[in-house]
């Protein structure tokens, strides 16, 4: 069993970004970057499957500028065996990303792909489903539990109102939700070791797919700010305000 884990480099999720004053996007210069939290869960799950003897090899892939090598190194420090960077500075959208990943998957022939369910920058939640569609594979999105049994995977999914368990024929694409696992802290010796693991850089043009963006971004605006509220002194005042002023109870 070979597992491929596509990951994304994003602005650190704890940073509140600002919209650029010319409305062309969000200011990301000089911000701390990190591996997308759901992608980190995906790497962790793949590494745990390997540690449990369920997988032989874990391969990471990301798409972006050369600076994205840092998240690949982080993933390898967590335990992945090797990594591929599809190096480009071009604008990317989920459909194009799914096409590039499909081309890599056709070469690598993994039995399982694990992705994060959503990147916390664009908040699209699309790439895994699109990739599964293009490959003709089943999809286990928003997974909170994953078991591999021979030729199929049993996936428990976080759905509105509870949990749903599906049996998927392998190969399949899984996308991770929060409760799937808690990613490990990376230890210094593993960071050193990860520096020596293979990291291949390929150009997207060599993959022969059209990954040009489809959607045109017209502008990014700042959301309306809430009007400043007040502090109440005690419970009685709060209840009075909710009854008489806000009229919500």
């Amino acid at each position: 069993m070979k597992i491929l884990v596509p990951i994304k480099r994003v602005v650190d999720p704890n940073i509140r970004v600002r919209v650029k004053s010319d409305q062309t996007g969000v200011e990301t210069a000089n911000l701390k970057m990190a591996i997308n939290p759901f992608c980190e869960i995906a790497v962790e799950e793949a590494v745990r499957l390997q540690e449990a003897g369920k997988a032989k090899e874990v391969v990471l892939v990301t798409i972006g500028g050369s600076q994205c090598q840092d998240v690949l190194r982080t993933g390898m420090a967590m335990g992945a065996d090797r990594a591929i960077l599809i190096e480009t500075d071009a604008a990317l959208q989920p459909l194009g990303i799914a096409k590039l990943l499909k081309a890599v998957i056709e070469k690598e022939a993994p039995n399982l792909v694990i992705t994060g369910k959503q990147a916390i920058d664009d908040d699209n939640n699309q790439t895994s489903q699109m990739l599964a569609a293009l490959l003709g594979w089943p999809q286990g999105t928003f997974a909170s539990k994953l078991e591999l049994n021979g030729d199929h995977a049993v996936v428990t999914r976080e759905i509105d109102g509870g949990l749903e368990t599906l049996k998927l024929r392998l190969p399949a694409v899984i996308s991770t939700d929060l409760r799937l696992n808690e990613p490990r802290y990376v230890k210094l010796p593993n960071i050193m070791k990860a520096k020596k693991k293979p990291l291949d850089v390929i150009k997207p043009e060599t993959l022969g797919v059209d990954f040009a963006p489809r959607l045109k971004s017209l502008k990014v605006e700042e959301p309306a700010k809430r009007k400043a509220g007040i502090k109440v002194a005690n419970v009685a005042e709060l209840v009075a305000k909710l009854k008489n002023e806000a009229k919500v109870i």
Partner: protein, 310 residues
């Protein structure tokens, strides 16, 4: 040509979010067609036909649609796409799971979680946990869209009298199989449609303490929500999570108890009409979005508030 809405339902009734998606569809043009794909889903199809603004209902009834498997539903939606300019579904776990798969099969972009229709090809959607609002234009021949329920009113469930047409069902793909459900049973209103929500955070300290919210919820007829920190700590199930990666809510009243107000939590509740924050840390960022802030220990607050509601 028509605007196609994929209904989310349980074969008997429509899920509430379908009505919000129908409203968004109505802003794009006419007629609005609703696809009800299920197994013995006549009742759900009848409910869809009664929704105000629906021009036609397509009913796809087959055993392989008994549960909403994306692998089965996507080819069905694709088979109906040639007559559609737009395909919409609620941005629920149902719609988020299905529509990107449909879009990729059609070789078009998907547009997630729209909060506004600007024109037939231009939409607004939040990015970076709602810290930016992106306006996107799609040149694709068919626009595949998920709709944020809280941003559109629900279409009236009655007043319509659309015809119901049966459609042909593609053969089963057979690559995925439903095994089981574990749905939370609750007498309380559903989180995403409740008029009042009371949410707890890490400040509650334990799953046991989390139950303290129930007294207030019972008094107010409120749904119970949670921050990601509370879910991560195992105080409550994930389907109560409010935030960027959980549910988006916009009730008339949102009461945040022991929640610090991380960016990712604010993304899920800052459109609420009235926000109350109770936290013993007066510097907590949650106070920046609260209409009424109360600096108080939540363990003192909850019993006192419950009593005051009597």
């Amino acid at each position: 040509m028509s605007i196609l809405v994929i209904a989310e339902h349980d074969n008997q009734a429509l899920k509430a979010a379908t009505l919000n998606a129908i409203t968004a569809a109505g802003q794009l043009g006419q007629p609005v067609t609703v696809l009800v794909a299920g197994n013995n889903c006549q009742a759900a199809a009848t409910a869809a036909a009664a929704v105000s603004g629906v021009g036609k209902v397509l009913q796809a009834d087959a055993a392989h649609y008994a549960h909403p498997l994306a692998e089965e539903l996507a080819p069905l939606v694709v088979s109906l796409a040639k007559d559609a300019t737009h395909i919409l579904a609620p941005a629920s776990t149902f719609g988020k799971n299905l529509l990107p798969r449909v879009a990729a099969l059609l070789d078009v972009a998907a547009i997630s979680d729209i909060t506004r229709v600007v024109s037939a090809d231009t939409f607004v959607r939040p990015i970076y946990a709602g810290n930016g609002l992106l306006t996107v234009q799609s040149p694709d021949p068919v626009k595949v869209i998920t709709v944020r329920s809280t941003a559109f009113d629900a279409a009236p469930a009655t007043g319509g009298s659309a015809a119901i047409e049966s459609v042909a069902c593609p053969a089963p793909a057979g690559i995925s199989e439903f095994v089981s459900h574990a749905l939370s049973k609750s007498e309380r209103p559903e989180l995403t449609t409740a008029r009042i929500v009371i949410s707890g955070g890490r400040g509650l300290g334990s799953a046991e303490n989390f139950k303290l919210l129930e007294g207030v919820a019972d008094k107010l007829g409120a749904a119970i929500g949670a921050s990601r920190a509370a879910v991560d700590a195992g105080f409550i199930d994930n389907d109560h999570q409010v935030g960027q990666t959980g549910k988006i809510v916009a009730p008339d009243l949102y009461i945040a108890v022991g929640i610090s107000g991380a960016i990712q939590h604010l993304a899920g509740m800052k459109e609420s009409k009235v926000i109350v924050a109770v936290n013993k840390d007066e510097e907590a960022p949650i106070f920046e979005v609260a209409d009424y802030g109360l600096v108080m220990d939540l363990f003192a607050f909850l019993p006192e508030f419950t009593a005051a509601l009597n």
